[in-house]
Amino acid sequence: MRVSYNWLREYVPIELSPNELGEKLTMAGIEVEEIINLRASYDSLKVGKIIDIQPHPQADNLLICQVKVTDGEITIITAAKNLKSGDKVPLVLPGSTLPDGREIDETQFHGIVSQGMLCSEEELGLARKSEGILVLPANTDLTADLASILGLDDYVLMIELTPNRADCYGMLGIAREVSALTGVNLKLPACAVNEIREAITNFATVEVLDPELCPRYAGRVFLDVKVGESPLWLKARLLAAGMRSINNLVDLTNYVMLELNQPLHPFDLKQLKEQKIIVRPARKNEVITTLDGEERTLSGGQLVIADPYHAQCIAGVMGSYQSEVSGATDTVFLESAYFLPVSIRRTAQALAIRSEAAIRFGKGLDPETVPLALDRVAHLAQKLQIARVAEGIIDLNTQPLVPRKIWFRPEKINALLGTELEASYMMEIFKRLNFKLEEKTDDGRHKILPPSYRLDIEGEADLAEEVARIYGYNQILATYPAANIVGKLSPEQEFREKAREILLGLGLSEIKTYSFHGEKMFERLNIPVDHRLRNAVRMKVPLSEEGSLLRTTLLTGVMESLSYNAKRNLHDLQLFEIAHVYHPTSEDGLPKEPTYLAGGLSGKYFEPTWSQSSREVDFYDGKGLLETVLNCMRIKDVRFRRGEHPIMHPGRTAFLESTGKFLGVVGEVHPKVKMEFNLTSSVVLFEINLQQLWEVAEKEVIMVKPLPKFPPILRDLALILPEKVKVGEIINLFRQIGKEKLESARLFDIYQGDKIPSGYRSMAFSLIFRIEERTLQDEEVNSIMEEIIKEAANRLEAQIRTT
């Protein structure tokens, strides 16, 4: 919202500078975002006097003007026809700019150079359209300050209002605030009207058929209207407020709207059949041509203002072309109304019209201003001598406002704010804000009545805010609530933070990616049409195709991040993300949002250096990483078994399980997916359900085992086994036979090649034997080893490898 400093001072003659005023308003909750010096836009304008006008020898429609300026005489070419010798005009010299920022250069017109440009009102920003050059008063001096002459020696405060302060959308609303904040008395706008003897009812009648959507409808009739141009002061006010002049009558209604925050609509009364105004809901598919020239079809139910035959205005939103005020208009019905804000918002939104009126009606207005605004326009119209005013107002106030009353408890306000303000001080604040205090009741309490325009004041907390606002938020002392609770993370939150720390420590960097993606992503990730990962939460009206559904796996983000970096030639990466995925439940239930941990390794696993060569990552890097992570997270009995995941290589993917629960997946990326994402280096992906992981994690406090007192016996064993035998199987066999004497068994080498028959592989294990109570004897271990070798041969077709 734009607030003219000069205009504001007509209502509150404050001594504050624009900056001081801005600061005061901001600190009272009316945020001033910027202060614009209007005059700055007019600084480059000069005044010139036309000395001579000659037709252009080469162009019929152009004139050559000799213009006197302060420091000499110049030649300017113009197309305007309204000038004569002796006229004083505004102009811009080459190298300077127009108020709209356009730069002016010397220009040739058919061989003659124009050394500047004469300005019209349109070019000065004063009118939406204008013909001819603006002619200044004859007594204007060539050195005169144009901004002052035009009434634009002004500042504009750019104000960002919060939705609760709709009352401040009018100049008077801001003025009331300023008055309350400074104590300077408010000067209300003059509204006296000299009516003629003929009653309004002789000219027009009004009927409201839907009082719920239109609780108050009022009007005045203007006769012998002389539609024409507005005076300069009016144009300047509108310009400061960001509007352009149209004609005197429309300008006046806009002026009063800006002043009192009451949109007004003038109808050309003669265009309304039977001079009858009916306020009713629109019929289904009713058609109206709005004054922007658009033909609009209404779905029905929207409030319209109609004559007995046709809708003439979409109430509160936009008028019709047919009954618009034009140069030929001589009788006007001026509407001032209070429409139900919700209804106006819906209509404006459905029709995508953001008119000044619709915005204001939509935010909620003061019903008490409805008749006042009519008087104000009438007063100004008479002052400008552009109309006579019929006697009386039609005012159908079907649902008068019931004033709100709020108990005033100063002690409660002090308790909420943490202040010790006197009740009398609070009352003084309310008086300044135009709140009324009801007489004390028998128990000594007051009730407070906020003014009708303060729709936001509903209860005691609102009263507390008013007191705090005017007293000053920054006068309230900072205190500290008693610390009676200990702050802590829940064990599960700590678990998650631990996972994060471990991964960072293991060299993975944390990423954050979008929670949504599009259907296309499923194709790119090779996820089949009927796969469970496609069962996603979908948005009703997505922002875009790329944001149409919520992700069911974090691997989307991991792949996109790898791809983004690869495009920038960054191939060796280790990334992870901890975030939610979303799984739909029932139709109207909230989805499940488990926390997942996913990551990717790509390219070289180590940084190759002068002393160390590197290699590309593979499945076992991912698996080993997870083994370490799960160990740190105290997950016992983790099993990896062959698994399949559409994003991953079918032969190089494993599922993770613990105590029979599925925890996640690790694998090399599917070559198809890798290609789709333009990745050239190898990629290993993993994804774990952190919530599930937390469930299976050991939570008991760690109890230390005593350290061994007796020495171990170490044995290595190399076996040649058929390929199909899994490491787990053979280690199980060791355990079965070694029982409590086998402390550990570790695979330390694996070989396939020349020395081994095809279809077989050699595995070498390192076994450690030990018992708690005594030193083991070689013979005991020897017999276990023999048994192992025998059983391995029997059950797993193993042979001892000797070479």
Partner: protein
């Protein structure tokens, strides 16, 4: 014999002095003291002498032996020191070549901010609460005093899943969910999390961003307490020398409401960051609206409280001098790498 011994001593001392290595020295030692060594040989000759001569010559031999041995020991130490020094010299490497670094991951800047803020509030007795990102309209709006068709809904352009379910537009629904869960206990929580708005992506807007919400509900909580807690917080985050100011504002679920500004690092001189105002807006806050308390069963005549909320991206951008919000979600490694 006396002369001979003198020669032996001189020869031994000379050879020992000229020896260049410990090995050479031990050869010399053998030459003189070994079974067939020169001194050993002379010692044996002692038996051939007349008994009265023996003490004198015995003394002489001992003298020679002692002197030579002493010198050999000294020389051995010298040589050892030299050899050790030479060995260390040979082992010299180029310490300016790069080391073999264990790899270390980089934390995400948003997570750093969330962790820092969380730590600050944990210290002030707040716990971390969480809630669903896909939320009921009821919790996102209605329970926060934003009924259907309320103009304040326009401040939150939302992404709906169904008519009643949407992506939460702020972390505030967790206020209500928490109050419902722990009524009538006092509440002291912060809520970090993702929120969603129907905003097209550009340098300063993202359809997804992070907020941290705070809520304190108890008996006798005042607006002054809000100011106290937020002052501690802002000074912890931005520096002890900063000051905090509150400006009246509007949120449907707080009353009175405030925008909270922290003084700018330029100390009021005016700069690009504070747009020459000397103040930086960091969060919105206010006393919990009585309607919100009532809806969660807390009697507003007994309980009061305050809530606050801030954008994590905004704070991270201020803290690290990041000018484009997209950096947070692109995960360009050259960006991530800068955080430790």
């Amino acid at each position: 014999m006396q002369t001979e011994l003198k020669d032996i001593l001189e020869k031994g001392l000379k050879e020992a002095k000229e020896a260049l290595s410990s090995q050479e020295l031990s050869d010399i030692r053998l030459k003189f003291f070994g079974k067939k060594g020169l001194i050993t040989k002379h010692s044996r000759l002692l038996g051939n002498l007349a008994p009265e001569e023996r003490p004198l010559f015995g003394k002489m031999i001992n003298n020679v032996r002692q002197k030579l041995e002493e010198y050999l020991t000294t020389r051995a130490q010298e040589l050892q020191t030299l050899e050790e020094t030479a060995k260390l010299e040979r082992e010299r490497i180029d310490v300016e070549l790069p080391g073999r670094r264990p790899r270390r991951g980089h934390p995400h800047p948003l997570q750093l901010i969330i962790q820092e803020i969380t730590a600050t509030f944990l210290g002030m007795g707040f716990s971390v609460a969480e809630g669903p990102e896909v939320e009921l309209d009821f919790y996102n709006f209605e329970a926060l005093n934003i009924p259907p068709e309320h103009p304040a809904r326009e401040m939150h352009d939302s992404l709906y899943i169904t008519d009643k379910i949407l992506l939460r537009t702020h972390t505030s629904p967790v206020q209500v969910r928490t109050m419902e869960k722990i009524y009538p206990q006092p509440v002291r929580i912060i809520v970090p999390g993702r929120v969603y708005r129907r905003d097209a992506l550009d340098a300063t807007h993202s359809p997804i961003f992070h907020q941290i919400e705070g809520l304190l509900v108890d008996k006798n909580v005042t607006f002054g307490d809000l100011k106290g807690i937020l002052t501690v917080f802002a000074q912890k985050l931005f520096g002890e020398e900063r000051t905090v100011r509150l400006r009246p504002s509007f949120f449907p679920f707080t009353e009175p409401s405030a925008e909270v500004d922290v003084s700018c690092g330029c100390q009021g001189k005016g700069c690009r960051i504070c747009k020459n105002t000397g103040w930086i807006e960091i969060l919105g806050a206010g006393s919990v609206h009585p309607k919100v308390l009532s809806m969660a069963k807390y009697d507003p005549d007994v309980y009061s409280g305050f809530a606050f909320g801030m954008g994590v991206e905004r704070i991270a951008m201020l803290r690290y001098g990041i000018s484009d919000i997209r950096h947070f979600y692109e995960n360009d490694f050259r960006f991530l790498q800068q955080f430790q």
